[in-house]
């Protein structure tokens, strides 16, 4: 084996290196820094995210390869990395006050976010099953701890424990699947696996098929596809709301990125079969997510089920595949980041008077109690429901447009019907906010102003509107980012 390393190797993973290094700096800063100034930690974290983002943007279009082809910095990974960085940046802005007031170990919180982000980036940029697995574990371990950050809250502990136990279970599937695939093909590199599968004797080997099935199960868990989704509501509800906002946008997008890498780069010969499985999963995921969301009274749980439903929509685009379909995945991931984090941001702001678990009833008359936040929530709900002039509409339009172009008529019909169902519970917030008077037990006063929180919500709202009115820019980047993936297959 030849272990010579060049500068390119390190340049390829420069953003990941920045985040890991800065994660440690944040820890040290917290330890030796003057007092326990959380604001400085948050700024430091934001700064590292910006630096990583800058590194990503400069590498765009170069398609670097590093470490003997195990990691890459192609446009696909860069597009996703920018999404992850947006998620984390918004989460940091949302967290400053929340973390401070609840005494959630400061330095640890921010450095774990940075490590989790580095893990996600590795997942999107690896061309090797083992590297993907490592990235996933960096992300997962950080997430488990983040869920339990409210040490004295039993729900938070329950959340962390559930996530960890079931996560370990699912990781078992994933790792076992990778092992079986290695057994059948003799390699862990995605492109070599695809090469091997083109040979008839490998292709018919049931061990390869079992491997693929188990990988799908493992990612199904991470993305929260039905029936591997059951942990989601419990974990999301118990975890600190800032962490929920992070978990429901970032790791899902990362798992989609890794899944697409494995399926399109590694398992493309099996496309017919995996797309059939995913077709079924997409349908039951969308349907179950939406139907159960109808029943929820707790808004955090409602958003948890809605995130399941949205994973279903994105899966439709994965099934469709091709430049248009995969491009729609990239587009939707960013749009979903904005609208989902934004909605959670409003929840975080309103929950600051010790009302952690908000129901629809609490939002009665909220549009008049706090007009600005009311409008922001209105925008996010419209976008989640897929109403035009929002990013949610532009994303759904592309998903279903590509599905129709590829002849997936039934999938489109089911997706559209689901979208109609979802309007009910998204607009329910709007109805209670504007059409019902505030009651004794609803939110009476506008939340205390917090500049970082308002900034995050305003940025998210601006993002939603921008993607809705000027979608072409990000569509262009999305399509560009998947061009290499689809050209090879």
């Amino acid at each position: 084996m030849n272990f010579s390393l060049s500068a390119t190797d390190f340049l390829t993973i420069l953003p990941e290196l920045i985040l890991c290094g800065m994660g440690m700096v944040v820890l040290l800063f917290d330890l030796f820094g003057s007092g326990r100034n959380t604001a400085n930690l948050a700024w430091l974290t934001l700064l590292s995210l910006l630096a990583a983002g800058y590194a990503d943007i400069t590498m765009m279009g170069q398609n670097l390869m590093g470490f003997s082809g195990t990691v890459t910095a192609d446009d696909f990974s860069i597009a996703f990395e920018l999404i992850f960085l947006s998620v984390t940046a918004l989460t940091v802005l949302l967290s400053t006050r929340y973390v401070h007031e609840r005494g959630m170990g400061y330095g640890e919180y921010y450095s774990l976010l940075l490590f989790a982000t580095a893990g996600m980036m590795l997942m999107a940029s690896s061309l090797d099953m083992l590297m993907i697995f490592i990235g996933l574990e960096i992300l997962s371990l950080s997430s488990y701890i983040l869920c339990g950050m409210l040490r004295r809250d039993a729900r938070s502990n329950e959340s962390a424990l559930k996530y960890f136990l079931l996560g370990a279970f699912a990781t078992g599937f994933l790792l076992y699947g990778m092992m079986l695939l290695y057994g059948a093909t003799g390699t862990i590199r995605l492109r070599e696996i695809a090469e091997a599968l083109r040979h008839e004797e490998v292709f018919v080997n049931p061990i390869a098929w079992m491997g693929m099935g188990m990988i799908l199960v493992g990612f199904g868990f991470k993305i929260a596809l039905v029936p591997f989704h059951m942990w989601t509501p419990d974990v999301y509800e118990g975890a600190p709301t800032t962490v929920t906002a992070f978990l429901s946008s970032g790791p899902k997008a990362a798992s989609f990125a890794a899944l697409i890498r494995i399926l399109v780069e590694g398992l493309s010969p099996m496309q017919e079969q995996w797309s059939q499985v995913l077709w079924v999963l997409a349908v039951i995921t969308m349907t179950l997510g939406n139907v159960v969301a109808l029943q929820q009274d707790n808004i955090k749980r409602m958003l948890a089920y809605s995130s399941i439903a949205h994973a279903g929509y994105i899966l439709v685009a994965v099934v469709v595949g091709g430049a248009e379909g995969l491009g729609a995945v990239v587009f939707y991931a960013l749009a979903y980041t904005f609208m989902n984090t934004g909605a959670f941001g409003v929840l975080i702001l309103t929950a600051d008077r010790g009302r952690e678990r908000l129901t629809f009833e609490d939002f009665r008359g909220f549009g008049f109690v706090s007009p600005a936040l009311g409008v922001a929530m209105f925008i996010f709900m419209l976008s989640l429901a897929g109403i035009p002039l929002t990013g949610g509409f532009a994303g759904k339009f592309q998903i279903f447009k590509s599905a129709i172009d590829q002849g997936y008529i039934w999938l489109t019909v089911i997706g559209m019907l689901n979208s109609v169902v979802s309007i009910y519970y998204y607009l329910r917030i709007v109805v209670v906010m504007y059409m019902q008077p505030a009651g004794d037990d609803s939110l009476q006063e506008p939340p205390r102003a917090s500049i970082p929180l308002y900034t995050a919500i305003a940025l998210a709202a601006a993002g939603v509107i921008y993607l809705g009115i000027f979608p072409s820019g990000w569509i262009g980047i999305s399509l560009q980012s998947v061009s290499l993936l689809t050209a090879g297959g």
Binding site: L166, F173, M230, D405
Partner: protein, 641 residues
Amino acid sequence: MTSYLWLIPSFPLLGFLVNGLLGRFLGRRMVSLIGPGAVGASLVVSVLVFLEMLAAPEYEITQNLFTWIGAGTFQIPVAFTVDRLSGLYILIVTGVGFLIHVYSVGYMWDEAGYYRYFAFLNLFIFFMLLLVLGSSLLLMFVGWEGVGLCSYLLIGFYFERDSAAAAAKKAFVVNRIGDFGFIVATLLLFVIFGTLDMAEINARAETALSFGGALVTAITLLFLLGATGKSAQIPLYVWLPDAMEGPTPVSALIHAATMVTAGLYLLARMSALFVMAPVTMAVVAAIGAATAFFAATVGMAQNDIKRVLAYSTVSQLGFMFMAMGVGAFAVGIFHVMTHAFFKALLFLGSGSVILALHHEQDMQKMGGLRFKLPITTWTFVIGTLAISGFPFLFAGFFSKDEILWQSFSSPWGHPILWAVGAVTAVLTAFYMFRAVALTFFGESRVDPHVAMQARESPWTMTVPLILLAGGAIVGGWLGIPHILGEPLHLPNVLEHYFDGFFATLPTEAVHHEASTELLLMGISTGAALVAMWFAFRLFGTYRDRAARMKAQLAALHHLLFNKYFVDELYDWVIIKPIYWTSRTVLWLMVDVRLIDWTVNTVGNMARSFGGALRLTHNGIIQNYAVGIALGATLILWFLVF
């Protein structure tokens, strides 16, 4: 080069956002800087762009902003175009709009909701600019709907007053009927041409459609329906007179610079289609002539000063339709421009009177105000001279006379059109001088307490009046007819400006003697002068005779005063039946029994299904693991066997 075209609508939009979101915290001074400032900035840019357009090849600048939806052949680009038509329009919209904004500072200063008013006013300008600048029918439609929305918001500005809320609703509903025509026509064009770009449609019209065919006739008639809604023509004019429920500067904005000129813009913009449909053109001319005459007669019997002006707008818009109907698009747009000056002037002048008299609008309770309100009086008189077509000096004379001449001489014109137009011009002179005499001259009939306090308006209101009065004079000099201009070597600037822009009629022009033109001009102008003098004497000096005349013509007066009972007719023939059908058939039967039942049943089924599924989420982790294992088994079973 063209990178700053997008700024024109951006300033008002920004003004709307700032005043709308932060207006409560800014204070009146700041709001008054931002509101008019935004339109002023966009006026400056408009002038620069206009000059650039004149220097550009083909006199056209297009700026592609972005593609809203681009999916294969289905492209919806967002692009702005400034050509000779939209260039003139942006100058009118931002120029007159700016003066109205400045005026509003004085007029609205004491009103609650000051910032809300300016936010809506800016939004109105924004949508109007979008309508004018959009290079595709879709973008135009966004503006088209937007001005409808803003007119609703502004007419209903005093929403605590029932009449204002009702007027706002009426404007909205009537406009929706017109919008329906616009939408259907747009969809038809998209099916035929595969694009919504107006320049392309106009360019390909001759090859894609057959002259006088049913299709082009249908499309243009549908566009005409849209235009009658926005530009207040028979049968959809009813909203405009009620629209005066809004604050007076809003009336000025709706009547002069925006909204009502949108329908005419649409006709002029799609001129290539219209000249291919002689039937539609005849309908346009007939509707225009009928509306002009009809509204002028109503205007003669009204006592509310704003109502007189409102019907005069309807009537003047009829003139413009008549011009378009005989193929004289440039002349119609010329009248749009002159009308923008003098109608904004008249409305703002009436606002100045109304404010001075503590919101008194009845002309029977005015009179003799020329000493108290000198600036208002003399600018209002200038506006009246302009609209009445006082010869050789004032703007209205040139444009109106050109319309009359075209309606006679154009190959698609007719002496009857000329006659109706000439009579209407005489009526216009009569009722406008009646209004001037009743308001400003004769003895005062003002409540003495009010008269004590009446004083001239602040400079923010009088300066716009003076500037607009200038426009009401000078604006007409741009289109001096050859027959008057040639002996003095004065060019017809506007005709030259629009040379070759509009589609021309396919019929050969008929030659007319210059003496005919002079004769017709002499007849209509002479009659109008007599009417002016007669009305002024009758209502200024000999009011008792006027009262006697009114008594002799009581039946006619009753009919005119009640506006031919058209509102009542619509109420009985259209609104009541629709209301009845909606209530009994659509609501109680279709909606409650059929739709609600279906929706509720489906909803309940979904909810109980969801409830059953929720039971599986019982929080017990072992069950979750079993779920994962079961799912995994199914997938593996499917893949391996």
